[in-house]
């Protein structure tokens, strides 16, 4: 007999949506063998991101990331998805990086490899490796650029005849138009419109209510959308817009809204465009909300005082029965779809002054990642309850 068969590394499933878990399994190792599992990803900006965990094989020579404990590295303990959410730029990278997928039609490629030993594992060639694809879009989801009635953004439509419930998806400042959350929501059965309201040159400084109302109506009137099942999902600045739209618009009536890292207090200047006059003069009044609302906040949010202001909202009373609240200790401002890496601080360009700063978002990696995983599941469940399976039935014909 010749040399031993090398270990076998498998990642199952090898092609998955980004919010799905995978199982990383190493077999055929000697028993009690120290190994390091490592993930490597090259971003669209050509930066390398990695994560690793130190493991010891069991008596059968098997390491299962889903079941075994990591003894060190970028994460410790039993963390099935640690190889993704604990990723950081490799040593020597530029500072203040953020990992976001801009082209959602292609998958994120992650190389998972197993190395012998713990210390200095990078100096050795891997024993085995596998490639995993992580997708934001399910097959059959259609991506459509929208530039209609002055409104710009990207629309994602699930496969099938429809009609479907729908969502208006709004991000915050400094990110440009991010499509990945909408692509993922469409992969979960919602027509989702990622609205561009901050970056485009065509938009004047006076972005008024009308812009958002028109956007909402474009979705509502789409032939593949059920008109009375349109919700709004916003994060950061987007959630402030969502809240104000729901409370003060006389034209649109969302079925439900989700506000992630919302701000119900207006800090002077900085990230808001000057033209939000209409919004900034009103005080936030919970009693104006007439639909179910889900608020998601990280308690370690260093960007906006979200927790403090939500507490004030609750005190104002009247509509608590519509409000559901998720607050996560140790989580920061950027609560995103699960298993994406955490950024405590990243580069940011301030909208008005074009100043480049490093903006502190807050959060600590492990609690933040748990918050992302838990909140996504609960957001999907909230949306499904109110947009797919509503207890309030209406007569037809």
């Amino acid at each position: 007999m010749t040399q031993a068969v090398p270990p076998i590394l498998s990642v199952t499933p090898s092609r998955a949506l980004v919010d799905e878990k995978f199982q990383v399994l190493v077999e055929n190792l000697p028993p009690g063998c120290p190994v390091t599992l490592r993930s490597l990803h090259r971003s669209e900006d050509e930066d390398d991101w990695e994560a690793y965990g130190h493991y010891v094989s069991d008596h059968r020579g098997v390491v299962s990331v889903s079941e075994d404990l990591s003894f060190g590295g970028m994460y410790t303990g039993k963390e099935p998805m640690g190889l993704l959410w604990s990723m950081r730029p490799v040593p020597g990278s530029r500072k203040g990086l953020r990992l976001r997928k801009i082209n959602v039609c292609t998958p994120m490629l992650v190389n998972i490899s197993v190395h012998s030993g713990h210390e200095g594992f990078r100096d050795r060639t891997p024993l085995a490796s596998a490639l995993a694809e992580r997708w934001y879009m399910a097959p059959g989801v259609k991506r459509i650029d929208i530039n209609k009635q002055g409104v710009q953004g990207t629309l994602f439509i699930p496969p099938g005849p429809g009609p479907f419930p729908a969502l208006l998806d709004m991000w915050g400042g400094g990110a440009g138009l991010l499509e990945y959350r909408s692509a993922l929501l469409a992969s979960r059965g919602y027509v989702s419109f990622s609205l561009d309201y901050l970056r485009s040159e065509h938009l004047s400084a006076d972005v008024e209510f009308k812009y958002f109302e028109t956007a909402f109506n474009i979705i509502r009137n789409h032939p593949q959308v059920i008109p009375d099942r349109v919700g709004i999902l916003g994060s950061s600045l987007g959630s402030m817009v969502a809240f104000n739209l729901t409370a003060y618009s006389t034209i649109i009536k969302p079925r439900c809204i989700v506000c992630i890292s919302s701000n119900h207090y207006h800090p002077p200047g900085t990230t808001l465009k000057a033209g939000f006059k209409i919004l900034s003069n009103r005080t936030n009044d919970l009693s104006k909300i007439n639909c179910p609302m889900l608020l998601v906040n990280g308690c370690d949010d260093q960007n906006w005082p979200t927790v403090e202001t939500v507490a004030r909202l609750l005190r104002e009373g009247g509509k608590e029965h519509l409000l559901s609240r998720l607050a996560y200790p140790g989580a920061g401002h950027l609560i995103e779809p699960p298993f994406s890496p955490h950024f405590r601080a990243t580069k940011f360009i301030i909208l008005n002054s074009k100043e480049k700063v490093i903006l502190l978002w807050g959060g600590h990696t492990k609690p933040h990642s748990d918050a992302q995983e838990d909140s996504w599941r609960k957001i999907l469940s909230f949306l499904q309850l109110h947009l797919y399976h509503s207890p309030s039935v209406k007569a037809n014909l």
Partner: protein
């Protein structure tokens, strides 16, 4: 479309959503608001709605939505009416452009859901609880050409299969049917990272698939049948499961010498192929097995007993111990001389089974299987109409038993299964076009869909386990 009053407008059935929308945009019906339940609109004329008045938005999911061909997909429908008849339908286009379809009839439960992993089909392309029935029961759509088979040529792209949920118990050919929901699935032969390498060296015509990673990997030599050509899909799947795999063509390929319907290469060709695997830096030279289907089985036995190589294991699917077509050097000595054993059915389709009956094989053509030194797995479809698989397996078993090598022999025998036992969840053709020149010939493979599908599923699992046992330890 006709107007009852300014406020109420009825639509004919068959009017599509797009048309309604176009009419609205053209402001012909400016006073209208389109109701959400568009499928309901389509049936508004002249038919009493069977169900309640509450608005549905059904959801159909398939998990995983991007899967390997040999992986099970879990299909579920939710938010439907309770205890309601629905049809689940699968449709896909082959690489040749033919439409393949399958459908099954289900009834939702009291929560308005269906789950193909646990529910029973009560009609359609299959009955009973068959989680993957929509895939193995695929058939060419009505009006297709004769004798089609589904065999993927380009393994680097997936099959796109559209799964849809229809109202009521209906069939794809029945025309007007209301689609409630749909989902698109991708079915792949390769995992990401598998490398496909075209081999045109040492006179070998083949394709090598390597798993991702540094290796070295155990390997398989993959041999197909007399129909010729180069089929890569089994090798692609082996590489996706961690085994390097080389699929070689020996007949009917433009890069091979000689006319296409004659085998112009002999034993030395297969020796070169085995040598190529042994010499490859990412292959473990001591862990190479051989798998053969149909005519490939004879070739497998020749490699195991005559080439001087010692494979680690052999897998033989529906083949014979010898062939009247081969000479001493393993080349074809005459063509179609076995025609006296061909049996034609009333459609003119040919069964080759009697050609390979042990009694009809020339004695000198039978390989000395008792000389094999490694484990052998023999897979037999009991309804094989193309080869006398059962009779040959009996012969092999007896030969090994007499040589004291029974412990090396494993037989898997499948009632109702035909000749082409292939990776699972793919349709089986009872007959298909075998050759187009010099004239069209359709071969009978045998096998009935449900037992053949069960055989493919079970055999594949056991083939992989057999390879794990003998190539990894």
């Amino acid at each position: 479309m006709f107007l009852l009053s300014r406020k109420t407008i009825m639509f004919r059935a068959h009017m599509s959503v797009t048309r309604i929308w176009q009419l609205i945009e053209k402001r012909m019906m400016s006073c209208i608001s389109v109701h959400g339940k568009l499928p309901g609109l389509q049936r508004a004329v002249g038919e009493v709605r069977r169900k309640s008045s509450f608005r549905q938005s059904p959801l159909l999911t398939a998990t995983p939505v991007r899967a390997l061909i040999d992986e099970q997909i879990s299909i579920k429908g939710r938010f439907l009416s309770q205890n309601y008849p629905v049809t689940v339908c699968a449709q896909m286009h082959s690489e040749e452009g033919d439409l393949w379809e399958a459908f099954a009839h289900y009834t939702t439960n009291a929560s308005g859901s269906i789950n193909l992993t646990s529910d029973h089909s009560v009609g359609g392309s299959y009955v009973g609880c068959e989680p993957m029935g929509l895939f193995w029961a695929l058939e060419p759509a009505l009006g297709s050409r004769e004798g089609l088979s589904l065999r993927k040529r380009n393994v680097e792209t997936p099959y796109m299969v559209n799964i849809s949920l229809l109202e009521g118990h209906t069939s794809p050919s029945e025309g007007q049917r209301t689609e409630l929901a749909a989902v698109t699935t991708e079915r792949w032969y390769m995992v990401p990272g598998v490398r496909r390498i075209e081999i045109r060296q040492n006179n070998i015509v083949g394709t090598l698939f390597l798993p991702p990673g540094p290796g070295p990997f155990p390997a398989m030599l993959d041999l197909w049948g007399e129909g010729g050509g180069l089929f890569e899909y089994r090798s692609a799947l082996f590489a996706s499961r961690g085994f390097a795999s080389l699929s070689v063509a020996y007949m009917g390929h433009k890069d091979l010498p000689g006319p296409p319907h004659i085998m112009s290469v002999g034993d030395s060709y297969f020796k070169s192929a085995f040598q190529l695997l042994q010499d490859h830096c990412q292959v473990d030279a001591d862990r190479i097995g051989v798998i053969g289907l149909s005519f490939g089985v004879v070739l497998t036995f020749r490699i195991a007993t005559r080439s001087g190589f010692k494979p680690s294991c052999l897998i033989c699917i529906n083949g014979a111990v010898g062939s009247p077509l081969l000479d001493e050097d393993g080349k074809i000595k005459m063509s179609e001389s076995d025609q006296k054993y061909w049996e034609l059915d009333d459609r003119g389709y040919v069964s080759f089974k009697n050609v390979s009956l042990p009694d009809n094989l020339p004695p000198e053509s039978k390989q000395k299987v008792e000389n094999i030194t490694c484990p052998l797995m023999c897979i037999v479809g009991e309804d094989d109409l193309c080869a006398a698989s059962t009779e040959n397996a009996d012969l092999i078993e007896e030969a090994l038993r007499s040589a004291g090598k029974s412990h090396q022999f494993t037989r898997l025998s499948y009632p109702g299964a035909g000749h082409l036992i292939e990776p699972p969840y793919t349709p089986c053709a009872r007959a298909s076009l075998w050759r187009a020149k010099p004239e069209k010939l359709f071969a009978l493979w045998g096998g009935h869909p449900a037992p053949h599908a069960a055989a493919q599923e079970d055999a594949w699992k056991r083939i992989l386990e057999f390879m794990e046992t003998h190539l990894r330890r």
